[in-house]
């Protein structure tokens, strides 16, 4: 049988090869998608070292569970779900350590966001694309973990309310509430960045 050209193979072919124990195929998958998996971990954890460790742990779990990957979603989507779950586990551990609840945190601050004046300016206007990326990332870092997580899952991972609720182990009502407050807070933060000098 001819040796596989890993760099030219599709993700599906690499997954199939990795399932049979081909580590080189798995390494190629990691090389292709490691930035995305790391980026998701970083946006959730806001810590580079933790993000690197969690992304590597996600790849190890991915290898161990390859037989469970049925191809209903893309391989990267599947891997992203794994790293998100690891990040949530890590956030819950943090919560236990500092007796701060990810389920309850900042819920009380929602009243403030609810009463904020509506931001009428589109934050994407008049800012360079790269600049806006940086600003949005900074603003995300100012949100609570719970609000940031729900925003990431909805806006970046395009998950429905019910799936977010399942992932975060909370009610759909809580998801809706957190998402609303998170968006309002983001609008406010981005508005602040755009104040005329």
């Amino acid at each position: 049988m001819a040796a596989m050209d890993h760099s030219a193979a599709t993700d599906d072919a690499l997954v199939q090869a990795a399932r049979t124990g081909d580590m080189a195929a798995f390494e190629e998958l990691i090389a292709r998608h490691r930035d995305k998996i790391y980026a998701r971990a970083y946006t959730m954890m806001r810590n580079e070292d933790e993000a690197v460790d969690l992304s590597q742990e996600a790849w190890v779990k991915g290898w161990q569970r390859l037989v469970q990957f049925q191809g209903e979603s893309s391989f990267t989507t599947w891997m992203t779900r794994i790293v998100i779950n690891l990040c949530l586990d890590q956030l819950r551990k943090r919560k236990r350590q500092r007796a701060e609840s990810i389920e309850e945190m900042d819920e009380e601050s929602g009243g403030v966001e609810r009463q904020m004046p509506v931001v009428t300016v589109n934050p994407t206007e008049r800012l360079e694309r790269a600049e806006l990326r940086v600003r949005i990332d900074e603003a995300l870092g100012k949100l609570s973990e719970a609000h940031r997580t729900v925003l990431i899952l909805h806006e970046f991972e395009h998950m429905e309310y019910k799936n977010i609720a399942k992932t975060m182990n909370c009610s759909i009502g809580t998801v809706m509430s957190r998402l609303f407050y998170a968006r309002r807070k983001m609008a406010s933060l981005l508005q602040d960045l755009k104040q005329p000098e």
């Binding site: 090389a31 809706m176 968006r183």
Partner: protein, 164 residues
């Protein structure tokens, strides 16, 4: 605006509002400028996020990043191979159920109502697995457990006898 209406407005934007509730939100939007402004803000924020996620890249080299993963997935699966139990595990597997069975048997026998009068009795319990001897005068009870190794001695078959 009440909170539940705000959340409905958001669900409407996200396509998550049940069809039966859409007319209520659409009527609100038609008559309330604040509702329209809030919807616009939510939409702007959402679109800003969707299109502008930070483009983060790992600083570690491919080889360095992969080396830790490779070490982890190359480790053999821990745990005792099937069929190669340690002596301790083997003893636990055999003796624990036998001991538990003996204890239950004794407890059951002691709990049974005792016949009046003196003397002694043999009881054959549960299909020859255990035998008990009880002396009513002294209150002593002895239990014999029928281990597999003893079966050959207790009930020798014809072939064994011939071999002797």
């Amino acid at each position: 605006m009440k909170e539940d209406l705000q959340l409905k407005l958001q669900a409407y934007l996200d396509g998550e509002l049940p069809a039966t509730e859409c007319p209520e939100v659409e009527a609100l939007l038609a008559q309330d400028a604040n509702a329209r402004a809030l919807l616009a803000e939510l939409r702007n924020t959402s679109s800003a996020l969707k299109g502008y996620e930070a483009d983060l890249k790992l600083s570690e080299s491919r080889d360095f990043y992969w080396s830790k993963i490779r070490r982890a997935i190359s480790q053999p699966v821990t745990g005792e191979p099937v069929g190669r139990l340690s002596l301790g595990a083997w003893l636990r597997r055999i003796l624990v159920p036998a001991g538990a069975f003996a204890a239950i048997t004794i407890a059951v026998l002691l709990a049974l109502p005792q016949p009046k009068g003196s003397g002694a009795s043999f009881t054959d319990v549960t299909d020859s697995v255990a035998f008990t001897y009880h002396n009513y005068d002294t209150g002593a009870t002895l239990v014999w457990l029928d281990y597999p190794a003893e079966n050959d001695v207790a009930t020798p078959n014809t072939d064994d006898t011939l071999d002797l």
